[in-house]
Symmetry: C2
Subunit: 225 residues, 2 copies
Amino acid sequence: MSRRSLVLTFRFHSLLTPDHSLLGFMSSSSSLLADLIEALRCLPGVGGKSAQRMAFHLLERERERGLKLAGALEQAMRRIGNCSRCRNFSEDPVCSLCASTSRDRHTLCVVESPTDLAAIEQATGYRGQYFVLLGRLSPLDGLGPEELGLGQLNERLAEGEVEEMIIATNPTVEGEATAHYLAQLAHQAKVRPSRLAHGVPLGGELEYVDRGTLAHAFGSRQNVD
Amino acid sequence: MSRRSLVLTFRFHSLLTPDHSLLGFMSSSSSLLADLIEALRCLPGVGGKSAQRMAFHLLERERERGLKLAGALEQAMRRIGNCSRCRNFSEDPVCSLCASTSRDRHTLCVVESPTDLAAIEQATGYRGQYFVLLGRLSPLDGLGPEELGLGQLNERLAEGEVEEMIIATNPTVEGEATAHYLAQLAHQAKVRPSRLAHGVPLGGELEYVDRGTLAHAFGSRQNVD
């Protein structure tokens, strides 16, 4: 290999190899900075490069807001627990949705996670109450009726106040299995179970709807009045 | 308008309007959660939706790492200052790059920001020292020679140790103006100024290189030995 092609090889090598030296350099420069960059990677969707960009951005321009974020994070991580009644995130023993007197106590919507609750609360005009499973039936992951608080849900149904239980689990295999189980619970407690409608989403084009959804929507077509 | 078209109008309206109710709902649900979501928006590239996703992710799965992030953030925001010699971020009065005895004290690389310093340190084998301007000459933004620490840079050059000053400002209009000013400083102090080479970037295709860069690269073509 001539000297020139060696130089070229080296150049292209350093062009193509990924950035392994990042944290190594950072830690030699400032260990607090390296700690911050490493810690920022716990955020979903944030890798080494974004973490570095975030750290520099905060240090250069947003120290005040960075400190506020540190405080908010610590408070939230330490003090937010779960509502004793619906298992949603709450800093109080009973969350404001459960404590509210203006929400309808005759309908109960069962969701898998607080994120789903937030989505329903933001999108719909639902004014009833919720129960959050914090998971779905998944025996392989060790998630059975116990872990999902179904005993607690059963007690709630047995109180006799709930008339309709809206099952809003995700339309995945495990979500469907959970929905099936929940419907049985409701029947036993003489509560009317209902489910979110499946069908073609609004604002899309039939051409791009997946086959399973389209077949379902076709099969459960509804009369136009 | 018939009742049915009213319902349809309402449906499409709620489909199309953006999500204004997010923080409203969040704050009614848990104010610590709302605070956290709001605070996360100080991160670059993070809007309401991502902030919500991050907050739920941390609360559901990563409380420990979330607390660690809070600690790292607070430490970094409070304790990282600027090196008294090169103005780079540092938690000590003099940063490790300036304090190092293994770095060449005869070359000084001048960059606009700590991010640029990090990029050069990661990409090149440069073993000299740095000076960070923390900005660029921009009279309209109130950034003059004073704010960029050029007096301090002058003293550094007057010490007589520096032989070459590598000017690595950004190739923008303001960066070029700053580079011009810096070159004059160097000449006055009898230090040899040099600049990063401009030209076509490695690994790209000529077809997609912008016209200015291509014209420059063509004009400053180099002999092949």
